[in-house]
């Protein structure tokens, strides 16, 4: 029971963005967080990451309520990959990944061989070897996303939270990133928009209007009724003749006639 939340809620000016969200992650699983735009995925993810403080409810990390942990202790266990991470600063790939060691280094503690090895490994894990001295602003969207993941991996987290990591990427990089995340031997929560991609998750959590609507294995959760009720689309399930896995084909729910 590495990460769990109870009755989590967040509201802005009396508007409920997330309400009553309870969730327990299984160790080592990949949980897909899906839902229409504005359903509260990002907010829930940020509360789980400890960067937003919930209006109600609590997040438990390794059994301890998050408010009782120091921000630094949280960051030593849990890492977050944001959706629109960007910077104006001219920072190299290596420098960006080195940031991941921040929670482990005290004020004037020197950079160690271990830190260096971890950074080198993290860069290698996302296949950015040879990019170390490239400037952030010269990278493509996919490369930037991989840098962010490498930065998170340099935290050596037990839990990795990713907010739409495949957004704005070409299809090759989408698949590469998802495969990379899937194979990490840690607990992962991934907010996703592509429901076909969500099928590779161990479990799926469906959010709608700030509430957790369903939670379970993809085959049980993604039904034609749910696609219609939650996402407002018709979906037909087909079988991939290549590997036998289910594929969803979508249609608009309403005709405009």
């Amino acid at each position: 029971m590495i990460l769990r939340c109870e009755n989590l809620g967040w509201r802005v000016r009396r508007k409920e963005i997330v309400s009553n969200a309870s969730l327990t992650l299984n160790e080592g699983e990949m949980l897909g967080l899906i839902g229409p735009n504005g359903s509260g995925k990002s907010t829930l993810l940020r509360m789980l990451a400890g960067v937003r403080y919930p209006s109600t409810g609590r997040v438990y990390l390794g059994g301890t309520p998050m408010p009782e942990l120091r921000q630094r202790e949280i960051a030593q266990t849990l890492a977050l990959v944001e959706q629109h991470a960007d910077t104006e600063e001219r920072i190299t790939v290596r420098e960006a990944v080195e940031l991941g060691r921040t929670p482990f280094l005290s004020v004037l503690q020197p950079w160690s061989q271990d830190d260096e090895a971890i950074v080198v490994d993290a860069i290698a894990a996302v296949d950015l070897h040879g990019f170390e001295n490239r400037n952030w602003h010269t990278l493509s969207g996919g490369e930037r996303q991989r840098v962010q993941i490498a930065r998170a991996l340099a935290q050596q987290p037990q839990v990795l939270l990713l907010d739409e990591p495949t957004n704005h990427l070409d299809i090759k990089h989408q698949l590469a990133i998802l495969q990379l995340v899937k194979e990490l031997p840690i607990t992962k929560v991934v907010a996703l928009h592509d429901l076909n991609q969500a099928m590779i998750c161990d479990r799926i959590c469906v959010m709608h209007a700030g509430r957790i609507e369903a939670l379970g294995v993809p085959a049980e959760i993604l039904t034609e009724t749910r696609l219609m009720n939650t996402f407002g689309v018709c979906g037909h399930f087909m079988t991939d003749p290549f590997d036998g896995s289910p594929v969803i084909r979508f249609h608009r729910a309403h005709r405009m006639d």
Partner: protein, 353 residues
């Protein structure tokens, strides 16, 4: 290839200590230059002899008037200029990192204007009944101005995005205008013509009349600011991708933001209470140093402090010699040098991105 990369990265962390070796001689040279150059040039060897006499008790024979000019007037002035330059540059680095805004600067965000109002309130209308110093007044004014600007920015749509970056600059302009107007109001209401002229001259940034007594304010302010910044090098780096990213890297965001912005305001306030508001140092020096040493704060902080110190000593020399028989407000010099440099940086940056 990997091994050389590793070496360069490790030595980058060691570079912090190299500054302790690089900075003192450069600073010393700048101070001596600042002392030697002026309306009447004094040869370097005389300057060094006077310094040796005063500091090490040597007994070189020197002209007593020269000694007086060097020690009581020019050296004190150069030391204050160095501290102000370092403090303002550090404030700029801190504000730019925490607000993630390359235009953040104590002058643009209205902190200098607020400090001026506070200082003027104490100096002219005698706020606090003589119990609080001009520096304290300036500090309160600086914090009030920043609180006002921050509140305005958050009401107008906070967050850390690109829009928020524009919003806080606009809020800073509003804050500057408001506090400058308050200052003008205080002067018009309470000061006589003579006082008003002196204050207006002081507000433009002025090192005339600076004496050793003033170093009691600026030297500790600059050193304290530098120390606090150095202790927060990693935290400042962690804000590279925004405050949420910093939080996910284990930074207590609110505490660091509040603490460091208070220190930046404190430094600015201390400097403004002695010299009036000097613009563009906090903006131009960090930008220029980013081009030279990169964006990581382990190099950027010491480089900016050093460059700011040297820049302001040089600006003061120019202010003293450019018009014979008259001393220009130093704020005029920094703006005349800083504005075009800033324009070049803006254009260059656009071409680079």
């Amino acid at each position: 290839m990997i091994t050389t990369d590793r070496k360069s990265s490790r030595s980058a962390y060691r570079n912090l200590w190299k500054w302790a070796v690089i900075a003192p001689p450069l600073l010393f040279f700048a101070l001596v230059a600042g002392t030697a150059m002026g309306e009447t040039s004094i040869p370097m060897d005389v300057v060094l002899k006077v310094l040796a006499n005063k500091i090490f008790g040597a007994a070189y024979p020197v002209d007593r008037i020269d000694a007086g000019i060097i020690w009581s007037y020019r050296l004190a002035r150069a030391v204050v200029a160095a501290c102000c330059g370092a403090g303002l540059a550090l404030s700029g680095v801190v504000l730019q990192a925490l607000l993630r805004n390359s235009l953040a600067d104590p002058y643009l965000l209205g902190i200098s204007a607020g400090a001026s109002t506070g200082a003027v309130a104490v100096a002219i209308i005698g706020l606090g009944g003589g119990l609080i110093s001009m520096s304290a007044g300036a500090f309160v004014g600086a914090l009030l101005a920043f609180a006002f600007v921050a509140m305005l920015a958050s009401l107008a749509g906070g967050g850390t995005g690109l829009r928020a970056a524009g919003v806080i600059v606009l809020a800073g302009i509003a804050g500057s205008q408001l506090f400058n107007a308050l200052t003008a109001f205080l002067i018009a209401k309470s000061a006589n013509a003579e006082q008003a002229r002196g204050i207006m001259f002081w507000l433009m940034g002025n090192l005339s009349g600076v004496r050793w007594a003033d170093t009691i304010t600026v030297v500790p302010a600059a050193l304290f600011g530098l120390l606090v910044c150095i202790f927060n090098i990693r935290a400042l780096d962690a804000f590279t991708f925004g405050s949420d990213s910093a939080a996910s890297l284990g930074i207590a965001v609110k505490r660091v933001q509040f603490g460091l912005i208070a220190v930046a305001a404190l430094m600015t306030a201390a400097m403004v209470s002695i010299t009036g508001s000097i613009g563009f140092v906090g903006l131009v020096i960090p930008h220029a140093m980013r081009l030279v040493v990169g964006t990581r704060h382990r190099a950027l902080l010491p480089a900016s402090a050093l460059a700011g110190a040297i820049f302001l000593i040089m600006a003061d020399i120019i202010a003293r010699i450019v018009i014979p028989g008259q001393v220009l407000p130093i704020g005029v010099v920094t703006a005349l040098v800083g504005a075009p440099v800033f324009a070049l940086i803006l254009i260059g940056r656009r071409a680079a991105v």
